[in-house]
């Protein structure tokens, strides 16, 4: 996991301050509530780190103080990262089965997707999917253990088969998640 940069840690400290203050503030309505480390303490250490970093960004002690601040921010630090960056860890676009492209089936010929004597094809509609490659009714492996096998690049949608295609072979290529 990437280490939090010092400027990011300073920003997290700034955001954590008001998160901790509001957390404590809610206690006045629903009973006393105190953050493990007070918002004043978080802001104080944040300012000390900020001022030192502005003057001495290469100071070898800064990382230790930043780690100390991260500890002080606690759960508010995690929320602060969300506030600053949005949802952490990026996002995944779900692929629905109904959106999967249709399988590709063909009998090898001089004009098929993989022509007679050829070994590769680009199937752009399959980009991002894994594939099941069935050759002559036999599911193929990507491991070369001496027989036929294939390679699939899901980033470019390129399928390469070994050995080369021969006329009238049945090729079936199924996209899968």
């Amino acid at each position: 996991m990437a280490e939090i940069t010092i400027p990011d840690m300073i920003e997290i400290g700034d955001v954590s301050t008001y998160l901790a203050a509001n957390y404590e503030g809610e206690g006045s309505l629903f009973g006393e509530r105190l953050a493990v480390t007070s918002p004043q303490s978080i802001q104080l250490v944040t300012d000390a780190l900020r001022w030192q970093y502005e003057s001495f960004p290469d100071d070898s002690t800064i990382r230790g103080v930043a780690n100390y601040l991260q500890w002080m921010c606690g759960k508010f630090g995690l929320t602060a990262q969300y506030v600053i960056n949005g949802a952490g860890g990026g996002s995944v676009i779900p692929i629905f089965p109904t959106a999967s492209p249709d399988p590709v089936e063909f009998s090898v010929s001089p004009t098929s997707i993989i022509p007679s004597g050829g070994s590769s094809a680009s199937i752009s509609s399959f980009i991002g999917f894994n594939v099941i490659f069935v050759r002559g009714g036999i599911a193929q492996s990507t491991l070369n253990i001496g027989g036929s096998y294939f390679n699939w690049n899901k980033g470019t949608g390129t399928l390469t088969c070994y050995p080369v295609a021969t006329t009238d072979e049945l090729f079936q290529i199924y996209p899968t998640i």
Partner: protein, 172 residues
């Protein structure tokens, strides 16, 4: 375009006794032959480097920026720069208030850095409360100048912080 006078001032973090004045004026005026800097503290005293016999500091027109050894503690001050024609005729003047806080900022960081290595110190009697007061005085001084443009109020804050740092065995 007419000559537009401006300058910036910063405190040297490595050597907080020094301030660095940089001429950021735009365009030129060929008649300008010299510059001078006047620094006044919150009580109206002139601040000059040791050995200077005038209330101002001569700033050679070919030198930019200029580093001045004028501080012995954190100080709020008014800095004025004048651009002069021949015969010491002041042609352009601009000034601004500044809050120099490096001494106390660095002492605060020193406290926090030690604390990060020995965080139980926060439980010592009055320790954390005094750190809070120290920090508040630095922040108050900065706000006095940046928001209130008031170097007198700023200096009062700075003096409190400076006193605490000078008597650290008592407060921390």
């Amino acid at each position: 375009m007419a000559f537009s006078p401006s300058f910036t001032v910063s405190q040297n973090p490595t050597n907080p006794g020094y301030i660095v004045v940089t001429d950021t004026s735009t365009d030129t005026d060929a008649s300008i032959v010299s510059r001078r800097i006047t620094i006044k503290d919150s009580e109206g005293n002139y601040i000059v480097p040791s050995g200077t016999t005038t209330n101002y500091i001569l700033w050679d027109i070919n030198t930019n920026p200029i580093s001045l050894n004028v501080l012995t503690q954190d100080t709020a001050a008014n800095v004025k720069v004048e651009w002069l024609y021949a015969g010491n005729v002041v042609q352009y003047t601009t000034n601004a208030n500044y809050c120099f806080t490096q001494y106390n900022k660095q002492f605060l960081y020193y406290l926090i850095q030690l604390q990060s290595l020995n965080y139980n110190i926060i439980q010592d009697t009055n320790y954390w409360g005094n750190v809070g007061i120290f920090w508040t005085n630095i922040t108050g001084a900065i706000n006095s100048v940046e928001i209130g443009n008031d170097i007198v109020a700023a200096q009062v804050c700075l003096n409190r912080a400076t006193n605490m740092a000078a008597n650290q065995s008592k407060y921390f």
